[in-house]
Subunit: 268 residues, 3 copies
């Protein structure tokens, strides 16, 4: 279990226009005004749990040990879905039990999952529509005040997990999916250098000999960085998160290839 | 008067793309680098004072005692409209005198309103277009350095107030207004459980027997949370700010009902 | 050289939707959890170096001495373009060598430019697409831990500078450019009160007698503030950054005049 230093990150689909995120920050600072609050993102597409799970996966590990990651994308707010406190060997995670923490369960060690049941860590409020402010934010802030995870509620073993599809090689073809489209329109797949190595072992090809097929087009070989692309042609690169990514230099691959999250990508 | 701990919130219509908000933060940190600055929102629709007033009302009370709330939505910048410093029993507020603090005057106790006249708390600048940076930000920062409210300027009694329309029951009909539309398209009214109770006393109806009329449609009864809705049908709920809110589960009620701020809502 | 207090500003074209900015903040806090991080802007149009340079110019000077300004708009990421550490008599700047710091080189004193070569200040990562997280963020954070600029790399004299066009008076006409369009649609030029004074000396006109020509229209005289405009007519004002700016009260001059960055503006 990590020691509780006071960094809290917030990941939501609340946007930054309304009073939602600010209210959460107010609640946290009211419990511990020394907390450092970092916005992970508030622009998750409304209620897209899988997108939020991917954003969390891509950034949580860069924060200091003991960071409390709060993620609230919560179509089931006010229903019986359970609020969770997860401790790992490095971090705390606070989120609804809807699959948002799927990658955490897979990648972290020392995982313990608890239901947040202790009503002392809740804000009183008339309605049941804003657990971000009334439940998740104070639960996080009380951790920075030294409350023990054990005091939050009972351990469980049946937390919800999203089905995470793994890329696979069959008949010398490596098949994966686009798992994220970033603001530049770069198409990020779930294919890692390890998968690529498996393909190359089977197909006996170098990185520059591999063909990438996506959305009806074929790209020849992987380049080393964005600057190696040119302005008209889609290229593929291994990005800094260790994933095969399709891009168009100074353009949007998503727009030009009319490609979105979930699209199939094949390497051979 | 609250003690001056160093949390400053910023509420503006400046957006986050330009250099406006960052300049305000620079000015504040240059006066007191220990200040914790929290963005309340910078996405108020340009020059919509009433919208900003509502956002402030919905979030200010969650912050710790002594927080300095700075709100700059200011169509009259550079004109003779007065800059205000308001102290209450819990908070400080700094804003132009254009009605932005209307709800604060109504809801807070121990309210004292001063005009910011002391030029020592101003930045020198050639033009007169950016009081957020040159006047409001330094005024807030100097409070965190212990300057007394009395040193800012004279007390006044005639601060501008927006007309705030109260819901009312007549002929067994409770009439209110949509006062805010959030990013999900949820339609938030000014009707509270107290108003509802008044209606129920007159009409002798339970919460599930009340009909909600809005934008040409009728909704039967209030549900307990968003999860109780379904994807096709508008529903009404008492939200966590204690207001009747019309929503469509995983959809935008504003888009589907073609409804905006100011629309009439009737309960009977 | 400034002493290293711990304020770091971030200016990027990364947006706030993806995991990019949060990852940079995580890296910084992991090296020094006491750092105060301020978002300068993350909404620079993708890969628009000149726009970022202008945003930095407009805000950096309001921050406390010793602030570390990190600017990452970097079409050449992963290529051989050099990463720079610039020290001035007041600040640190960390950015790619692509002209982003052009105004800093012009306006600051005591400028020393170094290439960041020391690999100890880099994060290990598989790909070469995210220098914001892997190179620029840790380079900034290690400064807050007291590492000396000299330890980063060798001094250079040939940093890239954008061509900065200066307004000029010829035949009693002062010609400048629109250098920035803000979120309100205000058109900000590179013409300062000094240029205006030069014109007025030659043309013998008062500020109210000067005509402003832009995008096919003419505006008579400069007003004192936005409130002096009216809702239908474009007006010109000297803004609080000391630049001639064309605006339409409670409207967008950019939309109505169909005018963008780079447009010629003439005063006579």
């Amino acid at each position: 279990m990590p020691s509780a230093i006071s960094v809290i990150t917030l990941l939501t689909d609340f946007g930054t226009r309304d009073y939602f995120v600010a209210s959460m920050k107010g609640v946290i600072l009211n419990i511990n005004s020394q907390t450092r609050i970092v916005d992970l993102s508030h622009e998750v597409a409304p209620q897209q749990v899988a997108e939020a799970a991917y954003l969390l996966k891509s950034s949580y590990r860069y924060f200091p040990d003991g960071t409390i990651h709060v993620a609230v994308v919560d179509p089931g707010v006010g229903s019986s879905r359970r609020p969770l406190l997860v401790t790992t060997s490095r971090y705390f995670f606070i989120a609804p039990d809807n699959g948002l923490l799927s990658y955490i369960f897979e990648e972290e060690t020392g995982v313990e999952v608890r239901v947040i049941e202790n009503k002392q860590y809740r804000l009183d409020s008339e309605g049941a529509t804003f657990d971000g402010r009334d439940l998740f934010a104070p639960a996080a802030a009380w951790l920075t005040r030294g409350q023990s995870p054990g005091s939050y509620g009972r351990l469980i073993q049946d937390a919800v997990k999203l089905p995470i599809e793994e890329p696979a090689v069959a008949h010398k073809v490596l098949t994966g999916r686009i798992v994220y489209v970033d603001r530049y329109g770069n198409l990020i797949s779930n294919i890692t250098p390890l998968h690529l190595k498996e393909l190359q072992g089977v197909a006996r090809k170098s990185a520059s000999e591999v063909t990438i097929r996506l959305a009806g087009i074929e790209i020849q070989g992987l380049v080393g960085c964005y600057a190696d692309g040119d302005k008209a042609t889609p290229r593929a690169v291994i990005n800094s998160n260790g994933q095969v990514e399709v891009f168009i230099k100074e353009g949007s691959a998503a727009d030009i290839l009319k490609c979105t999250r979930g699209e199939k990508i094949e390497l051979f």
